[in-house]
Symmetry: C2
Subunit: 138 residues, 2 copies
DNA sequence: ACAGAAACGACATCCATTTTCATTAGGGGA
DNA sequence: TCCCCTAATGAAAATGGATGTCGTTTCTGT
């Protein structure tokens, strides 16, 4: 049968690399780039090809298992394992990169009306917040 | 004296290229990429080096004369001459690229409290909205 | 165990953006 | 107006993230 839809966060097949990637991604406290993740894997002796990291992250993104943002500074795409199934927004420290989920109920409610407000359909939103965390501020 | 701060939207010097770039950028109805702008200039016989376009846009961005977003599809940076001095948000048609300013008062007010809500300082926000405009929807 | 397909990984390629560096040309001061 | 200094320009090369290629490896259902 070809219609077996996978339900795991991994791809169709459970490979060592995919496992390692998911594990290290989950362990990362903050958003991390594909290259950063690749480096971190290498540091711990876990050898995974860079393309494989990119592919795994792309698949995780498709499976909505990660949140993705764009680094303001480098333009890199940064990934973070998603904890809840809801879509989330974060404040990111522009110095150290630390991130923290923010309650965006108000914005979400507002966003829900956007179709009426704008005359556009299927409006989706991306919200990125950056600031300086307490440790970095002084 | 070396402290002469320029007050024009252009750089320190008023060159033909800078003038043309600003003019074509202002004429563009929607967000446009550096390459797109460069191509548009070339089409009208206005020869400007690609690096020059990039540099002019970078300077305009620094001078807060343009709004900048990131194309979801291509990852390019897209620029648009800023009309008001206030910072603006837009809905962008994910099919044709048409953009339209959106009233985001509610979000702005919420954003003003972010410092208190999050424990981060100097929090800035970026909000990108995409949907399908009426012409493209059906 | 087997076969077919998915995943790997080293490397090539793409493409937006930046940098280099020699040349050109604003524009303030004499 | 003429000069000079330096910002601005542009062609070409470099950078760097991300994706594609393709031969090889390795899951997984049968």
């Amino acid at each position: 049968m070809s219609e077996t839809r996978g339900t795991t966060p991994l791809g169709a097949r459970r490979t060592r690399q995919r496992l390692d990637i998911l594990q290290h991604l989950s362990a990362a406290p903050d958003f991390i780039s594909a290259q950063g993740l690749h480096a971190r894997l290498a540091q711990t002796g876990t050898l995974v090809g860079l393309s494989t990291v990119y592919r795994a992250l792309r698949d995780l993104e498709r499976a909505e298992q990660v949140d993705v943002i764009r680094s303001e500074a480098s333009g890199e795409r940064l990934y973070r394992r998603r904890s809840t199934s809801e879509h989330q927004h974060y404040v990111i420290c522009r110095r150290c990169g630390r991130s923290e989920a923010v309650d965006t109920d108000i914005v979400e409610r507002w966003a829900a009306h956007l179709d009426q407000l704008t005359g556009f359909s299927n409006v989706t939103h991306t919200l990125e917040l950056s600031g300086e965390c307490m440790d970095c501020h002084l």
